[in-house]
């Protein structure tokens, strides 16, 4: 078996610098937004006592979910021994860490008291799934870091075994992580829109899709930067197959999720709201997640995904999946909160505290900037990492 | 010996926090100078988490005894650099967020703390201690 050669990014195109510059600007804007929010308080955001988690959380959860999915490519090679994916294993690890960091940065900067980050890291309530998640996140970074190390260290990487073991462990960890993230919502018994165990499964399926989309996008961008194809035609076909598979899985689980809920009388009301009467949320679901995010790219991949157009099809489908992902999170997180808590089921209620009313939410510019800057941070970290260490595969002969 | 600052010499090199109400603080000045943050933090947890109230190291208590009157005769808030706490904190570049939540001026209600300090025996001991250390 030939050894796979790797490369760092060297002599950069202006395109690369432009891209980095763009991300730096977005991150600066995001930091500015965070400072602005910290100074004035969350009153300057669209969030309220009704919608307590807003746009930042949409992006953060999206990135965290994508992070665990990004590791898939590595897992294919180390856990399932699919050698074709091996050249991308390093990249997928780096991307996973970067995406997670991007997501966590948003969460931290959105806190009411970001200055107490140290409290969050030193005081734990072990009953809290959220606290568990902090462990899961930090652990994920550590495990994937170790995984990269065993893959890249000259001496350790000579044997396959460490890569196998640590890779398997990382694979296990990523499941725990997505399950944990899904459970943040799944465990909210009071919120009719969430409480369901399928939530975690849905998050896992979604993570596969978004993680792969990010991986493919980075590979395509870097193919341009290194001036040679990092994805062979063969691999392109494989990626396309995976996309179709994952997208169908997400479609299927989404359908099961909503159908079971519709079936239960308790949840019928909230489902009717979300799927039919929810205005922007209904639109985000049908138009965003299902239409643009799943059906459209599926159609493109199935109809135009082979032959001459394969490259274009994949390049268009990947961002569409990601847009769909953001829509899905918007629908889930914000739509789920918009529907009021039922303190007195069956009764019509009102109060000065907006009981019984559908909550209104419109994200303000700062919080959107903060959210988007998380994506930029993830991309910037990836770019810098690719520059510093040989994560990208290289064609053997030049 | 030179355990405490020579407050007597009006040196410009060190700050001279305004004297609090009464004869002495809830613990010896030396301890307060070094450990007030830990003492308060300890009490904070006791009060908030366990419901223990009325002990000495209450923030409301400090604020009451250490109120500094401004030019208008009213106690100044932490926003004013003459505030007792700031007289040192500015000097030592310490920033505290306590007064984002806590009132930095005494309220009208009578404070809980410091009631036990009236004892003359204690005052005598403290006076001895302070006298001996100068």
């Amino acid at each position: 078996m030939a050894k796979i050669a790797y490369q760092k990014l060297t002599d950069h195109s202006s395109f690369f610098w432009g891209l980095l510059g763009f991300h730096v600007l977005v991150i600066a804007a995001g930091l500015g937004a965070a400072l602005y929010m910290e100074h004035h308080g969350h009153v300057v955001t669209g969030m309220s006592n009704q919608i307590v988690w807003g746009a930042p959380h949409v992006f953060a959860v999206f990135l965290i979910v994508a992070a665990s999915g990004a590791l898939n490519v590595a897992s294919f090679s180390s856990v399932f021994n699919k050698l074709a994916y091996k050249p991308y294993a390093r990249l997928s690890g780096v991307l996973a860490i970067a995406l997670l960091m991007g997501g966590l940065a948003i969460l931290v900067l959105d806190l009411g008291r970001p200055d107490r980050l140290i409290v969050a890291m030193t005081t734990y309530n072990f009953r809290s799934i959220f606290a568990w998640n902090i462990y899961l996140y930090v652990g994920f970074i550590a495990v994937v870091g170790l995984y990269l190390y065993v893959m890249m260290d000259r001496r350790v990487s000579r044997s396959e075994t460490p890569t196998r073991i640590v890779g398997g462990f990382a694979f296990f960890w990523r499941f725990a992580l997505t399950t944990g993230t899904g459970s943040i919502f799944g465990f909210l018994i009071a919120r009719d829109a969430y409480s369901s165990a399928i939530m975690a499964v849905l998050f896992i399926a979604a993570s596969f899709l978004y993680g792969l989309a990010f991986t493919v996008l980075v590979l395509l961008t870097m193919s341009r930067e290194t001036r040679h194809e990092l994805i062979s035609e063969d691999m392109l076909g494989k990626f396309r197959g995976l996309f179709i598979l994952f997208a169908l899985a997400v479609l299927y689980i989404t359908a099961v999720f909503h159908l079971t809920k519709l079936y239960a009388p308790d949840y019928r009301e909230v489902e009717t709201f979300l799927l039919r009467d929810g205005g922007i949320y209904t639109l985000a679901f049908w138009g965003g997640q299902i239409g643009i995010g799943l059906l459209l790219p599926l159609a493109i991949l199935v109809l135009r995904g082979s032959g001459r157009h394969a490259w274009h099809a994949v390049a268009i489908a990947a961002p569409l999946f990601l847009i769909g992902g953001v829509a899905q999170m918007y629908f889930t997180i914000i739509g789920g909160q918009a529907y009021p808590l039922r303190l007195f089921p069956g009764m019509q209620v009102s109060s000065s505290f907006h009981d019984g009313a559908i909550a209104q939410y419109w994200p303000s510019l700062p919080e959107v900037l903060l959210g988007v800057s998380g994506v930029s941070l993830a991309m910037l970290l990836t770019g810098v990492a690719l520059k510093l260490l040989p994560f990208l595969p290289r064609q053997a002969s030049v | 010996s030179q355990i405490t600052l020579a407050v007597g010499e009006e040196s410009k090199l060190v700050p001279h926090p305004p004297k609090g109400r009464g004869e002495h603080c809830v613990a010896a000045t030396d301890i307060m100078r070094r450990n007030h943050m830990k003492l308060m933090k300890h009490q904070r947890d006791e009060t908030v988490r366990e419901g223990v109230r009325g002990k000495a190291f209450s923030l409301t208590g400090c604020v009451d005894c250490h109120a500094v009157k401004g030019s208008d005769g009213q106690p100044v808030s932490y926003a004013d650099s003459r505030h007792f706490c700031r007289s040192c904190h500015d000097y030592a570049a310490v920033s505290i967020d306590c007064f984002q939540c806590h009132a930095s001026r005494p309220g009208s209600e009578k404070p809980h703390a410091a009631q036990g300090i009236g004892s003359t025996a204690l005052a005598a001991v403290a006076a001895y201690f302070q006298g001996g250390s100068q």
Partner: protein, 238 residues
Amino acid sequence: MQTTLYAVMFYVAAAIFAGGLGLRVWQYARTPVPLKIPTTPAPITRAGATFRVLREVTVFESLFKSNKWIWLFGWIFHIALALVLVRHLRYFTQPVWTPVALAQPLGIYAGFAMVGALFVLWVRRVAISRMRYISDAFDHLILLLLLAIGATGLGMTFIAPTDIVALKGFFLGLMAFNWQPLPADPLLLSHLALVALLMVVFPFTKLLHAPGVFFSPSRNQADDARERRYAPRPLAKA
């Protein structure tokens, strides 16, 4: 008593530190560089070479290429040290400069990072046979000295606080030649004694790498031998 002792000690230590370091820097600056010896590939302009040195000083670029572990802990140690020293500026300036005041909370974490990284560096020196072979006693001692300074410092921050206000008064007093009393806390006195020791040994040991790194010809020369003739001043014949 300790006030007088420490006041004298710090005057002496400061004199040795400043004098010794000044002498070494002057020596480095004065010693000729007979030939062009940049390690290539090197920047071809002076500005580029300056930037190269800055990269070495700030991100330890060569060390990163060389060994990721040493880089990681070495860099953490130095950055943390820098932050701790910035935090310490509050004892010597009045009023305290705003950035220094803002950096205060960072300094505390930096203290931990510094001590942790020093510890790892020391373990490395003890555990790896290659490192043992190249280390002499002082390589261990300097790490232990810094560890001890850090440990006593952290002790003051977290276990037995000292009277910071009085301490600052002492140092401002030293600088104004108007002595103020120094609090007699054992941790503080140890911390300060160790710091004085560090200041004394600094100009005579490998700690000279700090000023020296700016003078390393293989890093600070531009690779322009063919573009501009390099003609150093003639050698001082001995």
